[in-house]
Symmetry: C3
């Protein structure tokens, strides 16, 4: 297992971690299989979305804020229940196919750490499993 | 890695791809392990849901359209921000267990490509990884 | 593949299944790889979220009920369309990294079966795949 950290910089943010995950796959020397990137946190998620127009990230984060308001009569005393709910919607991991030694992503796809309760320094764990030949 | 394409036919749609994924697992000759189906796009997702009553698909797509309106003051110029957000909620891949050479799905489960910005022709990538015996 | 069942007790509930999944990983004797826990149902999901304050579960379930109302002009005759939609948002499986023979989870993370149409007895399937050494 490999890992790295990312500083998220603001309350809500999406940080492109594609390069860091890709470097781990390259360093593993694997040819074909699966790569899982996992966040060991409960108020941030991980997803794959548009890597071109930064307006997409802004639209995603703003709309999630409308769907899951930061204040809505929550019981949890830390005041970050909305972040827990957005994490459930986003998911805790992504699994990407590896072929010919590289992550197989679409042209417009990037892997994003989705911060919903920052700014914080977040960990990302990465595991690769090879296909039996 | 294997792949196939599907024509999605309308703006919002859920297309059952269970048979195509299952055929890839059968052709692989694997006995036991994991199968990941992944979409290399950012405005469609992939999920597992009810395969019996087609009304469920209609309810899902209509309600997602209420939760994430197509127009809501988005910044992204292509006009498909709602599709990007629904993709985040749905997820980019499904991972299904393989046992005795077959996908292990519940009686009412089918694998669906979820189109949120069609009609388009979409690609699905499938990777299998066997358990070590 | 291993499996176990859980009685969910109420209409909406989140049941901590971390211990049961962890026991399967330990019994497998694996050292390093991936573990996927999968629900073969279409009205319950599986996710990873806060394992400390039980108020977080209450906030999650209540807010999901606001976002996806139980009655909203749905077509599906069984009356549980909201549960199907929440399942899409939550996801059908979680994939967790295994290292040194153990599930690698964050301090505050637990694996939860998310019941959206209970009470029922639900099945969870667990598959482990080892990394090639």
């Amino acid at each position: 297992m490999d890992s790295f950290t990312v500083a998220t910089g603001s309350t809500d943010n999406m940080i492109d971690i594609t390069g860091k995950v890709s470097d781990i796959v390259t360093a593993s020397g694997m040819t074909s299989g699966l790569c899982t990137a996992f966040v060991p946190h409960t108020t941030c998620g991980i997803t794959i979305n548009e890597n071109a127009d930064p307006a997409v990230k802004k639209d995603i984060l703003k709309e999630l804020g409308k769907i899951v308001p930061r204040s809505d009569g929550y019981l949890h005393g830390e005041g970050n229940s909305a972040a827990h709910i957005k994490t459930l919607m986003t998911g805790n991991s992504v699994t990407v196919i590896v072929e010919s030694g590289k992550l197989v992503l679409g042209t417009w796809q990037g892997i994003y750490l989705c911060e919903f309760d920052g700014p914080r320094t977040r960990k990302i764990y990465v595991q690769t499993v090879s296909k039996l030949i």
